[in-house]
Symmetry: C2
Subunit: 236 residues, 2 copies
DNA sequence: CCAATTTTGTTCTCACGTTCACAAACTCCT
DNA sequence: AGGAGTTTGTGAACGTGAGAACAAAATTGG
């Protein structure tokens, strides 16, 4: 029916797989930097910290890029994954909120080397405007629309305080941004068709704390079971 | 068999639920700050950005803390969740790697208010040692063991460059740290019994890029299907 | 006190993701 | 050429999670 190129753009890649593709990409880059030209699924799985069956199944969703009995060509597979993710060209990105975290993000060299280019830093604070961070001038939040249109920006990063997050997101969506990476500790609601990913530092720590507490309570409980003592407060 | 307190410490809470509990906790805090004393699962679900059936099922894993026909007492539920996560007391945390990101983390006020206390900042760079960041002196990485033992630290944060991440993690594990939050763009391997959570900025952006590319290709493909043009490069 | 209303906690079903296990396909060696 | 040895790609079994739907339990009003 529809004319297609060699790879079928209709296939759906499971979300869980999509989340691991960047890990594989990084592992392949590391292998290539070590001068390795070919690797087995087992080698790559170890480098990526997953099990090899999962890796093979993940890759099978992209197509058949390996050779049975041989393995994968590192550069070829790396290119295929990069193309699948869409990082063979650079994506322009704007960062809103140039506080501590915004500074760190602006200075993060990993963006540039992994397919992203920070085209603007924005803040609402007049005192920050005009300052240069990581070689980029901080501009007024009001300039968002002009910048997005000029550079055809699709991805926005929110690094503001929590109270500002929703209004910044609303503004981004109104202007046509369709992917948002939110570092503010707040839930932002967006319409269908807009993707939001959230990175929340204290949530990550709280998840660790939960498991840490369970480890401690588990040890307590084991001791308690032996000593027949009531388990309650844990590490008091 | 074993003596237990009122809540059954044996129950397992699904990992997906654990990951949402901090979100509920934050939403409850926001509601409490607005002076709201009681809320329904629907109210809380909206505040937390989830669906109410999922919220109720999540809470049911903790126990039965609501009242049918009424809803949940905000303060009571908040306390129960905080207790379940283990953030009714502060957890001491060490941050290793005081670069851009380490600075931002050290200055992040959300840690303190959500159950964590930064007890030390460590770096291998002699030039940084002795400087004060967010009121805490940067100390030599070698002091890790003494600090961990003094403060009974269980949680470590890695904010170093990728190359250093594994050796820092190894050292942390050897000293007795059992939970690691890794911001370095590298896979770190740890033995069983140690939890690692990874926060990777460029991976998050790459996941967004994938979906962004699909949106663009979907639009292209729709146009192409009408025009009978081959779909391949996408946004070239 | 009883019926109507509200809202929780739980059951059931379906979808998604992970892991195992193996046939297919390739190379290498004799 | 043919068999032995590797390694991929995938089918099938299993486990976890999401969402709909509803019974149980509380309040409210007459």
């Amino acid at each position: 029916m529809t004319t297609r190129s060699s790879t079928d753009a209709n296939r759906v890649i499971p979300e869980a797989t999509v989340a691991r593709l960047p890990v594989y990409l990084r592992a392949l880059t590391a292998l290539a930097d070590s001068g390795i030209r070919t690797c087995s699924s087992e080698d790559l799985a170890i480098a990526a910290g997953v099990n090899s069956a999962k890796l093979r199944k993940d890759l099978s969703h992209l197509g058949s890029y390996g050779t049975r009995g041989v393995g994968y060509d590192v550069d070829y597979l790396r290119y295929q994954i990069a193309r699948e993710i869409g990082v063979t060209q650079d994506w322009p990105v704007v960062i809103v909120g140039i506080g501590n975290l915004g500074h760190a993000l602006a200075n993060y060299s990993g963006f540039r080397s992994r397919g992203f280019r920070v085209v603007a830093l924005l803040d609402a604070d007049p005192q920050l405007i005009g300052q240069t961070v990581a070689g980029v001038a901080v501009r007024a939040f009001d300039e968002l629309e002009a910048i997005v249109q000029e550079h055809d920006v699709a991805i926005g990063v929110i690094a503001t305080p929590a109270v500002a997050a929703q209004s910044v997101a609303d503004r981004m969506v109104a202007i046509g941004i369709t992917s948002i990476l939110n570092f503010a500790p707040a839930v932002v609601a967006v319409p269908d068709g807009v993707d939001v990913r959230k990175v929340d530092l204290s949530i990550e720590l709280q998840i660790l704390a939960y498991h840490e507490q369970r480890k401690a309570n588990g040890a307590d409980a084991a001791a308690a079971a032996a000593a027949a003592v009531t388990v309650d407060g844990g590490a008091a």
